[in-house]
C-alpha cells in the first residue's frame, strides 16, 4: 500500500485512477445530457401530479358532506369549474406552484438523490 503517514490507498491505485479518469472523455457526458433533455418533462409531469394530488385531496375533503344531503350539488359545481386557481379560492385555499414546490415534490418522489442533485446543480458550471 502507498499513501500518507496515517492513510493509504491500494497498491497501484493512482495508476488505475488515472486510467479511469482519462476514459471519461470517451464515455462522454451522456448522463448529464440525458438529464438535461428529460428535465422539462420531469417538471411538467411533477406539476401534473401535484395538480392531480391536490384535486384528489379536495374531492376527498368534500366527499363526506356529499353522502349526506346537499353535498352532491356542491361537488357538481366544483367539477364544472374550469379554472384550478378559482377552484382553490372557492375552497378558501390558493395554490401557486413554484420551482421549489416541484423540487420538494421530486424529493418526496422516487427520484434518487443523485438525479435530484444533477437537476439542481446542472447549471452551476
Amino acid at each position: 500500500m502507498t499513501g500518507k503517514p496515517d492513510i493509504s490507498v491500494p497498491e497501484g491505485y493512482f495508476q488505475e485512477l488515472r486510467e479511469k479518469l482519462e476514459a471519461i472523455p470517451a464515455r462522454g457526458a451522456a448522463r448529464p445530457a440525458f438529464v438535461k433533455r428529460v428535465a422539462p418533462y420531469l417538471a411538467y409531469a411533477a406539476s401534473l401530479a401535484v395538480l392531480a394530488v391536490t384535486g384528489n385531496f379536495i374531492l376527498r375533503q368534500t366527499a363526506a358532506p356529499a353522502e349526506e344531503d346537499t353535498g352532491w350539488d356542491y361537488i357538481s359545481s366544483l367539477a364544472q369549474s374550469r379554472d384550478p386557481a378559482g377552484l382553490g379560492e372557492e375552497l378558501g385555499e390558493t395554490y401557486s406552484l413554484t420551482g421549489e414546490d416541484i423540487y420538494q415534490y421530486l424529493v418526496e418522489g422516487n427520484l434518487s438523490l443523485e438525479q435530484l442533485e444533477t437537476l439542481r446543480y446542472e447549471e452551476d458550471y
Binding site: M1, G3, K4, P5, D6, I7, S8, V9, P10, F14, L17, R18, K20, L21, E22, I24, P25, A29, P32, L113, E117, Y121, D124, Y125
Partner: protein
Amino acid sequence: MSELEQVFNGIVQDYSERLYWHVRRMTGTHEDADDLLQDIFLKIWTALPTFRGEAQIYTWVWRIATNETLNWLRREKVRAALRFSSVDAEMERRIQADPFFNGTEAQRKLMTAVAKLPDKQRQVFVMRWWDELSYEEMAQITGTSVGALKASYHIAQEKLRLNLSDGAVSK
C-alpha cells in the same frame, strides 16, 4: 485525440493524486473519495469547454473539486436525515471501519474530530493542515479573503483542541 482531451488528460496527470488526498480527508474513506473524485473529473470534463482562462487552471480545478466536495457533504447530511441518523455518527463509523486507515489512535481521533467541524471550517482546516496550501491559494480557490480564512482556521483549531482530550496530535 482532440485538443480538449489532451488538456483534460493533462489535468488528470497533474491534479488527480493531490485532489484525491484532499477529497479523502474531506470524505473520510477511500471508497467515498474514489467515487467522488470520478464525479469531480466528470464535472471538470463537462465544464472544460467553458473554461475561459480568466482564472489559472489550478484555481479553476480546485474550485470545482472543493464545491463538489461541499455538495457531497450536503447530500450526506440529507441521506443521514432520511435514515433518521446523524451525519457525524455516520462519518465516525466510516472512519473507524476504513481499511485504508493505518495511523495512530490520535490521528484517527483527529480525523473524526475534523469530520465534526462545520463544512466550511473543515474545508479550510483540511486545505491548510493536510494539503498545506497557502492562505493566498486558498483565497483564490474559495473566493474568501485571507483574513476570513485565517479566522476560520483559528476557530477550527480551537474547536479541535477542545474536542481532543490529549491535545497532542501529529501529522
